[in-house]
Amino acid sequence: MKEKHYGLAIFSTLVFIFLLGPLVIISVTSFGPGTVLKFPPDGFSLKWYQNIWAVDMFPKTFVTSIIISLLGNLLALILGVPAAYALSRYHFRGRDLLNAIFLSPVLIPGIVLGFTMLKYVLVMYQLPIYAGLLVGHTVIMLPFIIRVIGSSLSNFDFSIEEAAVSLGAGRLQAFFRVVLPNIRSGIMAAVLIAFLESFNNVDISVFMTGPGISTLPIQMLTYVQNYFDPTIAAISVVLMILTGLLMFVIERLMGGLAYFTKR
């Protein structure tokens, strides 16, 4: 016989309501026909979803966000993969310090990092807005890339790399033909997690966007300051669905979050 834990059941239900409630409310209000956010809505309408496309800044910033996140991701990979490799493959003096430096963007408050970025990248070095955004997003993605790929390299048997070298492969050949194919899923997960981090980022972007160039979250923020209609709810639902799909892919690739907690 299973024991019934009523207390636990009630507590869990409350937690779920607390976590998922806002999402449900947003989803429902996005279908409301009125001009202000209202719960429960007075009827059913898809017009606010159409309005996403009507406000041309939304599709435009969506594209900007995607491009910045993808390009930044690529840059973060180019920097992060060799860093993760070196940090897990070799034991050298200053390794822990280097590790801490690479992870520091997640430890520093986003506002501080964003402001510093503004000060240096845009004000001091006069980089174009687009380039500045890209640099900022690369920096915030780097720790995730290094952390996730590092964790898949930490249980990597480097003797297979030595085997490849002993069979005549050069160092790069061995890396691309033997190491990389065996940490594929780690790299995919790193890319997806970093992508989400960058795509949803507000605190860095808010300092780095400028006239005519903005990311979707910043555009949403600006929109909410001026209008209070359900468009914002509709776009949130679209983003939730996209994020959900990505998380589903990560889940399938990595066996979910267990991958990050088991070591």
Partner: protein, 358 residues
């Protein structure tokens, strides 16, 4: 002909010297084992030869060429790892073909060589399998095939059988020896398993603390260890610490106090050096003291003592005997064991005492 020679080689990890002024020579077509406890430098030596480690000093000559600074991938040596180190994302076929494809060989030729090699290691029909679908023994065979197919100038084995179970270990070591001899390969084999090394090698090097204590044919080392370390390592558990010599009934005798021992020196051993006498437990004989006549008791190469422990080993009994010269371990086949507490006489046959350097 000497194929491989390490000359005055030194290797250090973080300023900690593992090998210092290390010398080693190997003839073409021979299998040399490096044997010793963990930390003795045997794996370091192997990795140095492979090129995974670079020497701090000294020279590594191979086939008349200086290999000291030659990168691993230019050496054309086959390396068999303890963990097999198969490529998990490649099939058995692609694992074996890996080295050939790096050599830009035509796919038709690759196929021919891979299939022939899989046949040699009795893995025909396994081409499409992946490493995780194979048993330990099969994986090791793939690893050996992968190392052999590139027709290496030298084969290196790093404890290749230590992850296998006991029966398979015996089968595989016979297999490795057969392949090495059939293909006329020169090989260096690292293991901490004595029996394994002795059974497959032409030469065995017993290593201790970064030095070779003794290098020789397995039978020579087994019968005539030169140092106390080697003797202990290969099962000479009993030692006689001599304090002088005297003229006995049959010639020169070594003494410990009043006890005299007739021993046979090996070629090159002088009477001047101080030696220890080493003897295996199974070469000692014990007999209850009461069964001996006074005349027999007065002979040399004997020490009286008391049995402290008697252990049944299956084929024989093992006795711990306490004597005036210390405790000795004796293995002896007998029907009725001598009970603890009994007075016995231990006999040390002169031809079984091996004189070793202290």
């Amino acid at each position: 002909m000497t194929l491989l020679s390490l000359e005055q080689v030194s290797v250090a990890y973080d300023n900690h010297l593992i090998l210092e002024n290390f010398d080693l020579k190997l003839e073409e077509g021979k299998l040399l084992s490096l044997l010793g406890p963990s930390g003795c430098g045997k794996t370091t030596t192997l990795r140095l030869i492979a090129g995974f480690l670079e020497a701090k000093g000294g020279k590594f000559m191979f086939d008349g060429r200086d290999y000291t600074h030659l990168p691993v991938n230019k050496r054309n040596f086959g390396f068999v790892f303890q963990s097999y180190a198969l490529f998990p994302h490649l099939s058995v076929y692609d694992n074996v073909a890996f080295g050939l494809r790096l050599r830009k060989m035509k796919e038709g030729q690759v196929k021919e060589k891979v299939l022939r090699m899989l046949d040699i290691v009795s893995l025909n029909g396994f081409e499409k399998r992946f490493p995780q679908e194979l048993s330990g023994g099969q994986r090791q065979r793939v690893a050996i095939a992968r190392a052999l197919v590139i027709e290496p100038d030298l084969l290196l084995f790093d404890e290749p059988l230590s992850n296998l179970d006991a029966n398979l270990r015996v089968t595989m070591r016979v297999e490795i020896r057969r392949l090495q001899q059939e293909l006329g390969m020169t090989a260096v084999y690292v293991s901490h398993d004595q029996e394994e090394c002795f059974s497959i090698s032409d030469q065995v090097a017993i290593m201790n603390a970064g030095k070779i204590e003794q290098l020789g044919a397995p039978t020579d080392i087994y019968q005539y260890p030169k140092t106390e370390y080697v003797a202990r390592f290969i099962g000479f558990n009993n030692f006689l610490v001599f304090d002088g010599t005297r003229q006995g009934n049959t010639g020169l005798e070594w003494t410990i106090g009043d006890y005299g021992f007739d021993v046979q020196l090996q070629a090159g051993q002088s009477t001047a050096n101080t030696y220890k006498g080493a003897i295996r437990p199974e070469d000692l004989r014990i007999i209850p003291l009461g069964q001996l006549t006074d005349l027999q008791k007065s002979l040399s190469n004997q020490v009286p003592g008391t049995v402290k422990v008697s252990t049944y080993l299956g084929r024989s009994y093992q006795f711990e005997v306490q004597t005036a010269l210390g405790a000795f371990t004796v293995n002896q086949e007998m029907d009725i064991p001598i009970a603890p507490g009994q007075q016995v006489m231990i006999t040390f046959p002169a031809d079984k005492i091996v004189m070793v350097a202290q």
